[in-house]
C-alpha cells in the first residue's frame, strides 16, 4: 500500500491511539486534526515501517505495550511519533486538562502514581516485547 492510501485508515488509528492513551473514544475534532499528522509522518516513513505499524493497528494490538517495547528495541518509530503528536493535540481540548494538569496537591497521591507508573511500565514493556516476538496481537 502506498503512504497516501494508508490515510484511509486514519480514523481507525486515531481511535486506537487515543484509546491507548486516554482509555476512551476520541473526540471527532481530534480525528480531523490527526489526519495531517498521519499524512506527514506516513510520507516520511519507510515502506517497512508503514507495514509494521499498520499491521499492529489493524490487528487491534495493545498499542501502548507495543510502543513501549518498540522504544526499547528501536522498532515502530512511527507509532512513537504518532503517539507524541496525539498527546500534544489532545492537550488543546478543555475536557482533557485533567490528564495534564494536577489541580490538587497530594504527596501521597503523587508517590502512589509513581509506583503505579513504574509497575505499569514494567508490565507493558514485558507484554510489548512478547507481542513483538509474534505473540497474539488481538
Amino acid at each position: 500500500m502506498s503512504a497516501t492510501s494508508y490515510s484511509r485508515l486514519h480514523e481507525t488509528e486515531a481511535q486506537a491511539i487515543y484509546r491507548a492513551l486516554f482509555g476512551r473514544a476520541i473526540p471527532p475534532i481530534l480525528v480531523q486534526r490527526f489526519l495531517p499528522v498521519v499524512e506527514r509522518l506516513n510520507a516520511a516513513a519507510s515502506p517497512a515501517e508503514l507495514v509494521e505499524y499498520y499491521r499492529a493497528v489493524e490487528a487491534g494490538a495493545d498499542l501502548e505495550a507495543l510502543e513501549m517495547a518498540g522504544r526499547l528495541t528501536g522498532r515502530l518509530p512511527l507509532l512513537t511519533r504518532k503517539m507524541q503528536a496525539m498527546v500534544a493535540l489532545a492537550e488543546t481540548l478543555p475536557e482533557n486538562q485533567s490528564f495534564y494538569v494536577n489541580q490538587r496537591t497530594s504527596f501521597v497521591a503523587g508517590a502512589a502514581a509513581m509506583v503505579w507508573a513504574a509497575v505499569h511500565t514494567a508490565r507493558q514493556a514485558a507484554k510489548g516485547l512478547w507481542l513483538l516476538r509474534g505473540g497474539q496481537r488481538g
Binding site: 492513551l21 506527514r40 503523587g110 508517590a111
Partner: protein, 523 residues
C-alpha cells in the same frame, strides 16, 4: 546621502539607533522586518484558565501544525520558536539566509526586533571577566549599561550574584518566584556558606521583565503565557524601535535584505534586495553600521569581498540541560500562577573547567505538557502520570559554558551563496559536573548524570566573534572602535565584533557595545 545606515533591527541595531538618536542623528535602518501581523487574537488571561475553557489548538499548535514541528520533522527544535504566534520571528529565514550546516543548527531571524522577540530577556551587565580578550575596558561600557537599564526596565536584586552581574542600581524589584524556586532559594540561604566555599552562588536573574509598571507597559501578570505570545511586560528591542520610528528619530526602511557594500572615497554604497519585488536597491551613506547578527553580518562582509575562501570563527556558548526534581514537591498541584521562564541564576567558578559557568534555573510551567511526554522513559500512560504528578516538581537548569572551553565553529561563504557553518560539538563530561550535581542535591534538587541533555550546537542562540575586535586587527577583524579593518567607514556593531564570549547571556553586553561603537562611528 544618508549620514548613517544601520543594517538589521535586532538588539544591537536598536541599541545603536538609540545612541545615535540621543546624539541628534537620524540613522537609516535597512531591515527585512517581518512583523507579527496581529491577526491571531491575543490571550488576555492566565494560560491554564484559558485552556480550561477554550480549545487552545490555535495558540499551541496552529493551522500549519507549527507547534508539532519537532515531532513531525524528527529534528531538534527550539520549542519557544515553534509557538504559532512566534512564527514571524523565524519566517523565511532559510530562504533569506541560506545555510549549509554540519554539526550546527543556527537560528536566524529577519523580523523587526530580531531574535529578541522570542528571547528569555536575560539582561546582565558585564564584569571585567566577561571582557576576556576584548581590547576595550569595562569603563567604556558602564555608561551604556546605565542608559539601557533605564530604557528597558530590568528587574533583579543586589544579592550574592551582584559580584558577577554588576551594579544593582536602577533595577526594579525581582519577580515573584514560583513555589519550587522559592524552596530552592530558601535552601540556598540555609546552605549559603557551604556553597560559597565551593564557589557556587545562587541569586535572582537580571531580566528585562517588569515587576512594576513602566511607561505604558504593565508589570508581569504571572500568566505563564510568555512562551506563546509576546507579552508587554517583557522587553524586546521592538519596544524601543517602535518608539524611535513613531518619534521620527530613525528612518526605518523594511522589506530590504542587505547583501553587500562598496566603499568609495566619500562614502559607502549599500546594496540590498527588495524582498517583495526582487529588485536591487542601492543606498549611500557616510558610515555603515552592520548589526544583522554575527552570522549575517559576517555573510555581508564575505559577500562584499566576494570571498568564498576565508573561514571565519563563529563562537557559541556550549550548553547542557540538567533536569532537577524537588522530591518534596512530588504530587504538588501545577503552579499555574508563575513567570514561566528563568527563576534563579547559578554561577559556578568551576575548578574542573577553570572558568565561570552560568546557569539559569527555569520553570517548566509554560511549555505544552506534551513537550515532556517524549522525554520521559516510561510507558505512554505512565508518562502522562509523570506529567501530572512529577513535572510540577521539576525545574530545568540550563548551564552555559564560555566559548573558550572549545574550538570555535567555522563559517565560510559558498559559491552558490549559502553560508557554510561547520560546528564544533561540545562533549559534556558528566564527571566534571559532579561537584555541581552534588551542590544541587544539597539544595534538595535531585538529578542524575544520565538525565543531562545536550541541545544541538547552535541552540543556545548566542552567536559571536565572526569579525572579532583586536588591538592590532587583520583581515575580517575589527579595531577596538568596531571599525572593520581595511575599511574607513564600515563598523560591526553587533556580536560579530566580540573578541570572545563568556558564559553570561550576552544580550545586554552586546547592546552596550553597540551603543559604544555607534558613538565611535558618529564621532
Amino acid at each position: 546621502m544618508a549620514e548613517m545606515i544601520i543594517v538589521g533591527s535586532g538588539a544591537a541595531a536598536t541599541a545603536a539607533a538609540l545612541e545615535l538618536a540621543q546624539r541628534g542623528h537620524r540613522p537609516v535602518m535597512l531591515d527585512v522586518g517581518h512583523a507579527d501581523d496581529g491577526a491571531a487574537p491575543r490571550v488576555e488571561d492566565n494560560l491554564y484558565r484559558y485552556r480550561a475553557q477554550h480549545d487552545s489548538f490555535d495558540l499551541h499548535i496552529g493551522a500549519d501544525y507549527r507547534g508539532l514541528a519537532g515531532v513531525l520533522t524528527g529534528e531538534p527544535t527550539v520549542a519557544k520558536l515553534n509557538a504559532p504566534r512566534m512564527a514571524f520571528v523565524t519566517r523565511d529565514a532559510a530562504a533569506l539566509g541560506p545555510l549549509s550546516q554540519a554539526e550546527f543548527q543556527a537560528i536566524q531571524s529577519f523580523a523587526l526586533g530580531g531574535l529578541g522577540n522570542a528571547w528569555g530577556a536575560g539582561l546582565y551587565r558585564w564584569i571585567t571577566a566577561d571582557l576576556q580578550d576584548f581590547p576595550i575596558s569595562l569603563a567604556e561600557l558602564e555608561p551604556y549599561f546605565d542608559v539601557l537599564t533605564r530604557e528597558i526596565g530590568i528587574s533583579g536584586a543586589g544579592d550574592d550574584l551582584a559580584e558577577f552581574f554588576g551594579d544593582a542600581a536602577g533595577l526594579q524589584p525581582p519577580l515573584e518566584l514560583s513555589h519550587n524556586a522559592r524552596r530552592v532559594a530558601l535552601a540556598y540561604r540555609r546552605r549559603r556558606k557551604a556553597l560559597r566555599a565551593q564557589r557556587i552562588y545562587l541569586g535572582r536573574p537580571r531580566a528585562g521583565v517588569l515587576s512594576a509598571p513602566k511607561d505604558d507597559r504593565p508589570a508581569c501578570d504571572y500568566s505563564n503565557l510568555e512562551f506563546w505570545q509576546s507579552q508587554p511586560y517583557i522587553y524586546t528591542p521592538a519596544v524601543t524601535l517602535r518608539r524611535l520610528i513613531a518619534a521620527g528619530q530613525i528612518d526605518y526602511r523594511p522589506g530590504l535584505l542587505v547583501q553587500r557594500w562598496q566603499e568609495t572615497a566619500d562614502g559607502v554604497t549599500v546594496y540590498a534586495r527588495d524582498v517583495s519585488s526582487g529588485e536591487q536597491v542601492a543606498v549611500t551613506c557616510q558610515r555603515l553600521l552592520l548589526a544583522a547578527g554575527a552570522i549575517n553580518t559576517a555573510r555581508i562582509a564575505l559577500q562584499s569581498a566576494g570571498d568564498t575562501t576565508t573561514r571565519l570563527p563563529l563562537l557559541e556558548n556550549p550548553v547542557v540541560q540538567i533536569p532537577v526534581i524537588l522530591p518534596a514537591s512530588l504530587g504538588r498541584r501545577l503552579d499555574t500562577h508563575a513567570f514561566g521562564l528563568v527563576q534563579l541564576n547559578l554561577v559556578w567558578e568551576s575548578a574542573a573547567y577553570q572558568t565561570i559557568l552560568q546557569g539559569s534555573l527555569l520553570e517548566l510551567t509554560a511549555p505544552l505538557r506534551a513537550e515532556f511526554f517524549g522525554r520521559f522513559p516510561l510507558a505512554a500512560r505512565a508518562n502522562l502520570a509523570l506529567i501530572r504528578h512529577l513535572l510540577p516538581a521539576m525545574l530545568m537548569l540550563q548551564l552555559y559554558f564560555p566559548a573558550w572551553v572549545q574550538l570555535p565553529s567555522r563559517l565560510s561563504l559558498l559559491a552558490d551563496g549559502r553560508l557554510r557553518i561547520e560546528g564544533q560539538p561540545f562533549p559534556a563530561e558528566p564527571a566534571r559536573l559532579a561537584p555541581l550535581l552534588a551542590a544541587l542535591r544539597s539544595l534538595g534538587l535531585w538529578t542524575h548524570p544520565a538525565l543531562i541533555q545536550q541541545p544541538v550546537t547552535g541552540h543556545a542562540i548566542h552567536y559571536a566573534g565572526t569579525l572579532p575586535m583586536r588591538a592590532a586587527p587583520g583581515p575580517y577583524q575589527c579595531h577596538p572602535s568596531g571599525r572593520l579593518h581595511g575599511t574607513a567607514r564600515v563598523y560591526a556593531a553587533d556580536s560579530a565584533s566580540f573578541s570572545n564570549l563568556s558564559a553570561k547571556n550576552m544580550s545586554l553586553g552586546m547592546m552596550a557595545n553597540a551603543m559604544r561603537i555607534a558613538a565611535e562611528a558618529a564621532a
